[in-house]
Symmetry: D2
Subunit: 384 residues, 4 copies
């Protein structure tokens, strides 16, 4: 029997963290021929070249494509999407997959969805149906309407996708494959293990308390990134005795603003117990998150992986404010004082009970198992 060709597009380090266990499960499935297409920020030095981590993990991409138009303004984000479609069309034409798999809601995801749609290749979408209360929502839902099959991460997401007119039989809630990484991995941390990460700033003692900060640009308030990150950093600085581990933002429009805010702060506050990193491997990120006394910023990982692990989190701004979440998170605005109070409260509370809103840690395996049984219908009639 001919193997089913499944092409997974991985276009950022965050994407990779989410699909790693799915890639493994697809690789091991005898009915499936896995095709890996890597692109965009996953390949770029400036974003930690996560492709290298991926290769070390045993995933050799079939194709690597570059389509990021540099600039990090709104116009370059649009143009990057256009370039993505142009480049992906060539790759899909040559790989001729039976299914294309895309994850989440960023411009790379949209480029993948559009290209697969016009190439008449059935599209599998991971993490549809979620609601985060920011502009990514419309992109995520648009991709749902382009996709043939939906592997959602929560029950509410499943309901939402179905209400949007997708057939119940095409929507599967196996949880988020990012939880698979957490469920299976060693979550302990040590200086020995972490010393491979250079970073800039004073040295971290991973056996001592630290706060983890990740703050991405918010595309709807484009231009405010600088002041937003400044508030967070100022609030953090008040916890003088606690170490602060800061990750660089992603490549959205506005990314340079946030990065500049961090750089400016860093130059002024070099000695203040702050440490700056480009990225960690997916596994090491879990170690870092799991052992933080608190996570702060606007990374969706705080509400997902953080919930699964029970890590206290302070979530700032409206980037995630409607996203489904468990008990571990407190929400706040960009006010320095409020951020400070929320942080204090969470540090006092300490560890939460582990949640299962985002699945039980076997999503990748279950998705891989069901793919060979799918039957795509390009006409995909709506249910109403």
């Amino acid at each position: 029997m001919r193997k089913i060709k499944v092409c997974v597009v991985v276009a950022s380090r965050a994407n990779y963290g989410r699909v790693k266990f799915l890639l493994k499960a697809l690789q091991e499935n005898v009915d499936i021929e896995l095709q890996i297409l890597v692109g965009a920020s996953l390949l770029l030095e400036r974003f930690g070249k996560a492709i290298n981590v991926m290769k070390e993990d045993g995933f050799e991409p079939n194709k690597a494509i570059y389509y990021t138009v540099e600039g990090e303004t709104l116009i370059t984000q649009a143009k990057s999407t256009g370039m993505g479609i142009i480049e992906l069309a060539t790759a899909f034409d040559e790989l001729a997959p039976d299914y294309v798999v895309t994850v989440a809601d960023r411009y790379e995801t949209m480029a993948t969805a559009i290209s697969a749609t016009y190439m008449n290749i059935p599209l599998i979408h991971l993490q549809g149906g979620e609601v985060s209360g920011n502009i990514d929502d419309r992109v995520r839902h648009a991709i749902t309407k382009l996709a043939d099959f939906h592997f959602v991460a929560t029950e509410k997401s499943r309901e939402r996708v179905i209400r949007m007119g997708e057939h119940e039989s095409s929507v599967f809630n196996f949880g988020c494959p990012a939880m698979d990484v957490i469920a299976s991995c060693d979550k302990s941390i040590s200086n020995e293990h972490m010393k491979k990460y250079g970073g800039v700033g004073s040295e971290v003692d991973w056996s001592k308390p630290y706060i983890l900060m990740i703050q991405h640009p918010v595309t709807t308030s484009y231009g405010d990134g600088f002041s937003q990150v400044e508030s967070t950093l100022n609030a953090l600085q008040k916890f003088e005795s606690v170490q602060k581990v800061v990750l660089w933002p992603n490549a959205d429009a506005g990314g340079e603003d946030v990065a500049k805010g961090i750089r400016t702060f860093r130059e002024k506050n070099m000695s203040d117990n702050f440490h700056f990193y480009k990225n960690f491997s997916a596994e090491d990120f879990i170690r870092v998150l799991n052992n933080a006394v608190c996570a702060i910023g606007n990374s969706s990982s705080f509400l997902r992986e953080g919930e699964f692990l029970g890590v206290p989190a302070v979530v700032i701004g409206d980037r995630q404010n409607l996203r489904e979440h468990g008990e571990n998170a407190i929400f706040t605005n960009y006010n320095e004082e409020e951020i400070f109070k929320a942080l204090k409260k969470q540090i006092k509370h300490g560890r939460y009970v582990q949640g299962r809103v985002f699945g039980t840690g076997d999503a990748g395996k279950r998705i891989a198992e069901i793919i060979p049984t799918l039957k795509a219908n390009l006409l995909k009639p709506m249910t109403y």
Copy 2:
């Protein structure tokens, strides 16, 4: 008070026919500064360069952009979408509109929607919520999820858009602006009036009975265009005494197949009362449709304008088979014999009573009036 800048993207002759009265109404509205952006097949000789008709009608485009990657394969359709996004982003950046208006469901529409979304410009979508039973559906619904405001053409479309999670207050059913053209125009036809259209083949006597044929490629059965159009043409040939007026297909993937089928047939059957046209002005198309004894093919105009006018129609294949429709249409497959029978039946039936499924002919005016009152919210929360 600052005028509201409304940028309408017109990218095909079909699009122009639909927005003509909206353009007029926007042009006349004192609170609005109309920006017109033309592109793709509207500019191309091969598709009748409808831009010229538009200019004669008094619409001077602010920008004309070329982004059709020639080839009419799936891959060039994808690449054209990518190029469209790249080119539109530049245009939107320079025109800086308050709203972008896009129509229907083709790749040019998708390019417009994506580009406006990433440029953070509120998007107004015309003709969302419809269901046609073909692959355009998923594109149309995806655009609905990207759009801020929806001017739908029927009540069922309105319901569908709302069920997809759009706020009731953002969805307006003023009918289809294409009906405006029909309601207001002189619908009579004469040889005198029509002689300006050259065409290829024997001469048409417009005062005598004729059948109108329009058959577009069907993207899901890519590669079958040739045989599909052949069946229709063969069936038509059996009505020896009736004149046959054939329009060239649009620029979808597969367009060349259909065009080739027509050319091949034409070379063999030059004398058989067939006449071939590239295109008509929007008004003249209505004359031609209105006075046809029957319309045949798969143009959605048969179910829309045709219904409004009461013209008998034979609709072939699955391109339109789920589309909302009135009494005037009979549906059939690609079988020559069945097409023949349906045609015979419709010719015998003659004229239908005029329908109002697609509005009352004042959509353009009503849309233009309401635009200055809209309040966009880029976060656009879902209703569930």
Copy 3:
């Protein structure tokens, strides 16, 4: 020993005619692995889809790429070049050739040259050093300065390339590979053989006298194509008793103008012994050229293949007016009367003695033989 990978880019039917025997020779050379990359108008229905002829001749392309931005204005020609570079870079990256071969002077050639240059792949240029007195000259000479090796077609071209600063050892005059086709092929013509070509217009009796017309747009007088081709057609019409065989123009900016001129003339003069063709296979084109009583227009083939065969030619306008040529050609401007006189004179003169300005018909073989001995130096120092 590792085979040397030679990638030939073929992007129009004219290109194919020129490299056909080189492709054969490369295919047969045991030291060489031939890679064929096809693109642009070679793939397009509108230009006769010459890729099909190529496949029938036994050449299976490694990759087919689309990059023609439709429009045939100056801006689309520029954008097509840009798209060409983008698409070719991907293809070169995957094929990883040791040499890229490109032919002549059109925008597809430039795209190939630029892409190979930035990908650090040594470039072999065919037909450099010629001077045609039109805007293609600057493109051709620019490609010479980008290329590593030059296989020129005439002695004067060789001198010119060397004077431009290229090392003598990198310039080879083996003649034009297009002559190879002529030297080896059956050049007779018959109705039996030619009936496969449909064409539009009255039927040709290939055993009787006919004039061959090919008129391409001239990019420097963009916009005049219509009237230019009209003069030629009017002059031709005066030779009532002689058959006229007309070929469609190529895809340069202005191509639609010329095509429209031909179409307009055709519609008015359908019965006047004119016959219109999209294209012929490279071999059949030679038959048609060889047996014409005279060739007229501005195709460079008249000065090259025509000279080799001794066919009388009337060359119109400045598209070729500085090009090297033999005895067979008379030059004229766009004046109908002068064209008429020149035609009359040439028809009276009849056949010329065969010339050897463009080689002896074994270029392909000699080029293929020498390629494995080449040593590229990316620094390519100038000789002065």
Copy 4:
């Protein structure tokens, strides 16, 4: 009288340094309407966003375009060129200049030259005819063959351009406009003046001796950037008591390699009297160069501005090894020991007599004066 529209494309900080006085002269010329088009790395945060300096100098760009495909591999350099052509074509179409001005030899220059050529806009090229012994040469000479007018910087360059077949009357040697900046500016340096530049590393005392280092990637030895820059930095480190001022490399393929080499070195040697800068304004760069005890690396500014000023320079590798130069430079390979010796020798020698190989400092003014008198001929016949 209609003003002549002259569009200068500025696409990197180096470009800006070279054309600044030309821009001023064009701005002041009553017969000329200056159009400024900025793009590529000039706009990017990562390369110091030199657009801001330009605006402060009173130059408001007509258009800013983004076309850098991020990645800094060979393939992204090719794709950036393609994107550049696509974006520039739109800009040229809208600005409709009478002349396009482009500078030097990088991929942005090539994109400008190609786009102007296909848009039929006469091209003015600055700094043609030079020979640097690296891969930029072929790009520079190809641009010469595309250009209509040549403003070269040296007498030898003038001779070379003419030998390549350009008409003597189209080639002008007014010297390099970069010298204009030097001739006119205050070249003194002080801590007060320089404190606005942040930089990373220990603080510089500008009144004390310092060595200036600039090392760009060398595209022909792609991949070696890391070790190459390491040798230079190691050699520099031996001059413990002298301050070292290091500038970041440009955006060529390989740029990330060199940048990484610098970052790695920096992290290990933070305290060693090294100071790292992103960029200086054109004027401040001259101060920095003028007051250095020695310049080291492979920047062409050492051979041009350095020669004009008489600054001792050690030029490493083959990036500049054939470039015209004066007395002030010693050439060396990538060997740490040899670099060290050359540096020692130059520091001992001290200041050279000022040279005039690259002009007398009034190039911009003279170019601006002559432009209104030019007569372009798109056919541009070769001289042989």
